[in-house]
Structures are given as C-alpha cells and as structure tokens.
C-alpha cells in the first residue's frame, strides 16, 4: 500500500476547477515533484495534502489513515514555504523548536533535536540568530530544518527555491535532495522549474489546467513525453503535424519529406494525421554520423548557450532546432549554408493530441 495516496481528488473554487480527478500513490521515502505552469493546480493539490484546502471530492490517505478532513495541525506533515515563513520574533533555534514545544517534548529532547537539525543544515552556530540576520538561502535551510524537526510523515515543499538566485538554488536543491535521501522522508515538491524537477525527483507529475498530463520518472518524462504539453513544457522540442504514408515501413511525411519512426503504428492507417516530436539534441549533422533519417536543410540561425550551441535550420517551411555540445574546436557552419541533418528513427516520437 502506498504511503501517501491521493484518490481522485478535485478542488472547485466557485465556477473554477483548480484540480480535477487527481490520482497519485507515493511510496515511503519517495520524492515526487508537481511540475507545471502557474495556475495548473500544483500548489492547490499540495495544500490539500497539507490540510489548508479541503478537497471538493476524493480522499487524502497518509500512512493508511484517511486525512481528508483532518485539520493541518493534526496531519503530521511538515511544510516548507516559498517565502520561508520563519517566525520573525524567534531565533533560528526558536523556530526549529517551535513544533517540538507544541508537541510537549522535554527540554533536553528539544535541545538535542535542535542541535541535530542545525548540524543537518550545516548551520551549527546560527541558533541564536534572528531570521533577518540570515541570507535567503540560510533562511530556507532553517525553514527546512524546522519542518523536519518533528520527523513528519510527509514533507511538503512549495516552490522552496523560487525566491533565491540561480547559484544558491542549484546548491540548495542538491542539499534538499541529500537530506531527503538521508532521512528517507516521503516528500512532495512543487515547482514550475523543469530543470529543478528533473534533477531532484524520483518521479514527476506534470500538471496542466488542473489535470495530470503525465506521471513518470524524470527520464521517462523527458525522453518519452506522452502529450504535446509535456513535450513542449519539458525542454526545447521540435513538434509538428505529420501524415502516415506507409504503415508497414513506418514512414511519415512532414512538409514533403519522408521520415522513419520506431513508434508502434498498430491501429493506424495510411493517411492518418499524427503529431510527432524530435528533441533538438537527437539531431546532428550527417557529416558526423549518418542515421535512419536524412534531411536537407538551410542554416537559419546559430545561438551560443554556453555548454551547448543551438542551431536553427529551415526544412521547407518548417524550422527545426538542433543542439550540439560546445567545444572550442567546433566547426560551425555559417548562416545560409546548405547542410544535411540526421536523426535515428527512435528519435521520432508520437504525442497524444
């Protein structure tokens, strides 16, 4: 049985459906991210787990116990907020010990646990500081320690890194993941940052317009997006409409060019319209290596993005993006040059429309 189970939950505010028929089973010790654009219902779903919102329909089960109608203070979940939400009137130690005092732990126990938590977040000498004396990253680490101090059944993180700058964000997300693994705590992580979700999660729930688009491991979500939304939201993608011209040979036609796919075409017939996608990094120049599909094109633009170089090519009326790793000796074509690009048949994936 799953440790945390969201059974067909929905949330309707007036005439707006914020979350519709959401189902998820989270195993003990798993970190699952809710990923999606603003207003997709990810935070509302998290708040239903926390008890700050009551589902209109469905059940929230935590460790086998129906928590749907339990108030937040009886759910045994820890929460980390985007805006840190440290209590400004309390020191770091005061913040961390807040929940322990409410749980009526002994003074010795509280002191021991506070010290443990400060060690865990690598801030052992910051116990007497006030939140305003800390940087944003430090405040969020204290917020994490505070949420973990009570050893909650589930840890909820609501865009915890959104308010921090890029470098701190990358370091802190690695720290959060390490702590989560070390403690083996079940966690739900809300973010709109795909890179964050891909790097930190065991599984990702991609949400859009209150619905689940796809649930899978970061590898599955990135490499095998099931819907056009997932494909476009995660990473850069070349997506276009195609027509099946030969079911037996698995040949599709895009803008007059034939492309071979490895996708299962069972149930489809010649002339059917499909939506297909190719990741930019799966395309390369045929001069390097020839694959199943060869496409003539014209170089339209070249963008240097640091570790990668993004090349925009024109194939008939359509534009394709191709990513190649940067190296100092890269022999790049010039804008307007004719070229031939290639991709494997496995690179051509189908999307649900």
């Amino acid at each position: 049985m799953a440790y945390l189970e969201l059974d067909n939950i929905s949330k309707i505010f007036g005439k707006t459906t914020a979350v519709a028929d959401f189902n998820l089973k989270v195993e003990r010790g798993e970190l699952v991210s809710f990923l999606g654009p603003s207003g997709c219902g990810k935070t509302t779903t998290l708040r239903m787990v926390a008890g700050f919102e009551t589902p209109t329909n469905g059940k929230v089960v935590i460790n086998g116990k129906d928590a749907t109608n339990l108030p937040p203070n009886q759910r045994d979940v820890g929460m980390v907020f985007q805006a840190y939400a440290l209590f400004p009137n309390m020191t770091v130690a005061g913040n961390i010990s807040f929940g322990l005092k409410i749980a009526r732990k002994s003074n010795n126990e509280i002191k021991k646990r506070v010290d443990e938590m400060l060690e865990l977040i690598h801030m052992p000498k910051f116990g007497n500081r006030y939140p305003y004396q800390l940087s944003g990253g430090q405040q969020q680490r204290v917020a994490l320690a505070r949420a973990l101090a009570l050893s909650p059944q589930v840890l909820l993180l609501d865009e915890p890194l959104s308010a921090l700058d890029a470098k701190i964000r990358v370091n802190l997300r690695a720290e959060i993941r390490a702590i989560q693994r070390e403690l083996g705590i079940t966690a739900i992580y809300v973010t709109h940052d795909q890179e964050e979700a891909l790097s930190i999660s065991d599984r990702i729930v991609v949400m859009y317009d209150g619905r689940t688009e796809q649930i899978g491991t970061p590898f599955q979500i990135y490499n095998f997006p099931e819907t056009a939304f997932v494909a476009s939201f995660i990473g850069t993608l070349n997506a276009f409409n195609a027509e099946i011209v030969d079911v037996q040979q698995k040949i599709l036609k895009i803008e007059g060019i034939n492309v071979v796919t490895a996708e299962d075409l069972e149930g489809k017939k010649n002339g059917d319209k499909v939506m297909i996608a190719i990741r930019p990094e799966r395309l390369n120049f045929s001069s390097e290596q020839k694959k199943a599909n060869l496409i003539d094109c014209t170089i339209a633009n070249i963008t240097f993005l640091g570790s990668i170089v993004r090349i925009q090519v024109k194939v008939g009326e359509i534009n394709l993006f191709m990513d190649t790793f940067n190296n100092p000796f890269l022999d790049l074509p010039r804008i307007g040059d004719k070229a031939e690009i290639t991709c494997s048949k496995e690179a051509v994936i189908f999307l649900k429309q």
Partner: protein
C-alpha cells in the same frame, strides 16, 4: 564636511517646507511651555506645575483616565486583533466593509455618539411586550457608566487601532505564518498568542498609544456621561485658571512623547524583518 555637503544638496524648497512644518508644530508647544513657566511675575519657575500636581483632583481624574485608557486598550485589542486577523485570513472580501465601519468615528462626531449611547442605555432593557426587566440602565450605576464610556472610547479609537493592526499584519504576511504554525501542530490560540501577536507588537503599541492619547484628553463623552475624567477636569480648570492648564497640557504632551520613546526602545529591533542578502 561630507554631511554639510549633503545638506547643501537638499533643494531650497525642501528646507522651506521642513522649517515651516517644524515652526507650525513647535511654536504653539513652545508658547504653552513658556506660558506655563511664567506664573510668577518676572521670573521663570515651575510653580504652575507644582500647583497643578498638588491638586488631589488632578491625581484622581488622571488616574481614572489612565484606568479608562488601559481598559479601552485591552477591549480594543481583544476586538480588533481577531477581527483584523480573520478578515486578512478568511474574509478578504469583507476588508473594505470593515475598514468603512472603522472609519465611521471620523464621520460621526463624538457628540452624536454620546447622545446615542445615552438615549439607548439610559432606559432599562426589557423583554419586548412584557414588563420583565433584564438589565437596569447602564447610566444608573458606576460600573455600567464605565462600560458605556469604555465602549464609546473603543469606537473612537477604532480607526487608529484597526489601521495600526491591519498594517502590522500586512507587513508580516499573517496567512503564511499561520499556515507555517499550523503545519507544526499549533492550534488557533497558540498561533495567535505565540506567532501573530508578537509579530504585530509594534503595530499594537502604536495603536495603543494613539488610543491612550485620545482617551486621556477626551472631553465630550466624559462630560456628557458625567464621569470624573482628566479631559473635563482640564477643561474646567482652564475656565478659571490660566497657568495650571498650560502646565498640565505640556506635561501630558511629554508623557505621550515618553510613551513613544518607550515604544521605540521596546520595538527597536523588530523593524528589521526582511532577510539579509
């Protein structure tokens, strides 16, 4: 030198309006102080202060007004803090309505308020269509009158107390703090007492100070309800004495400033609520 150069950079009109403002506020104050020190002809002395403080009526009325002020502050906090908290947390759509209500004392003069209070509470409370009396008129006994005047003062102080508390709550994001406290097992009373109240302390003190100043100097409600408060005492004193009312006015002004100073001392570090970066 740097400071002087910086002063020189301030435009002429800024200085002009600043000086004009300072003169407008401080000249009457200075005049009151100067007048209060000239009770003895041709000599600067504190005689007016000695005489004013020696009057037992001063201590009695001032003590009573302080009692009324403290009670008003307690009732105001008990009424305003949960209201402002709940409006911010659960009823944001009611905020305009509540703000409108709290601003009513600016529109309705105190004289109308006191006549309304007297009109309603000077007759016994009976069960309609029977002769059964539930409560004697509040104006008929001392505790009742105190309740009435404190109620009136709560209304008069409402704009100041509500605005202070509401602003205080806005600056600390009470919603997120409440949710953070609840996620750690805190119930409503614990959340309010341990998290919300300490974080709106400055706002509470500011609201309390303003309420204190209003109550201590208030004349109309106290006169019409016939209570021995400091406001009517000062008013009566001013009708047949010259120097003592000036001395007492200046003394109460100093008292208010002292209270403000205490607030600054007590809450000095609290304003730094944002994080270091």
């Amino acid at each position: 030198m740097k400071l002087f150069a910086r002063f020189l950079k301030i435009p002429f009109w800024s200085w002009f309006w600043l000086i004009l403002g300072v003169l407008y506020y401080f000249l009457p104050l200075y005049a009151t102080l100067d007048f209060s020190l000239r009770m003895e002809r041709g000599k600067i002395s504190l005689k007016a202060y000695q005489m004013a403080f020696a009057d037992p009526e001063f201590l009695r009325t001032f003590g009573y007004s302080i009692f009324l002020a403290v009670m008003t502050i307690i009732v105001s906090i008990a009424l305003v803090v949960p209201t402002a908290y709940w409006v911010r947390l659960r009823l944001p759509q009611a905020r305009r309505f509540v703000e409108f209500i709290t601003l009513m004392p600016f529109v309705i003069p105190a004289i109308i308020l006191v006549f309304g209070l007297i009109r309603i509470y000077s007759s016994p409370l009976t069960i309609p269509f029977t002769s059964i009396t539930l409560m004697q008129p509040l104006t008929n006994f001392k505790v009742g009158t105190n309740i009435l005047i404190i109620g009136g003062y709560v209304v008069l102080g409402l704009p100041y107390m509500y605005r202070s508390v509401d602003t205080g709550m806005r600056t600390v994001d009470v919603l997120t703090l409440t949710e953070a406290a609840q996620s750690m097992g805190a119930n409503w009373p614990t959340t309010i007492i341990k998290v919300i109240l300490p974080n709106v302390r400055t706002a509470l003190l500011s609201g309390s100070l303003l309420t204190f100043a209003i109550v201590v100097g208030e004349v109309i409600l106290a006169s019409f309800l016939g209570v021995p408060a400091f406001g009517p005492y000062l008013f009566l004193l001013g009708q047949h004495r010259a120097f003592e009312p000036a001395a007492l006015s200046f003394a109460t002004f100093l008292l208010t400033w002292a209270a403000m100073g205490i607030i600054q001392l007590v809450t000095g570090g609290q304003s730094q609520s944002s994080g270091a970066h």
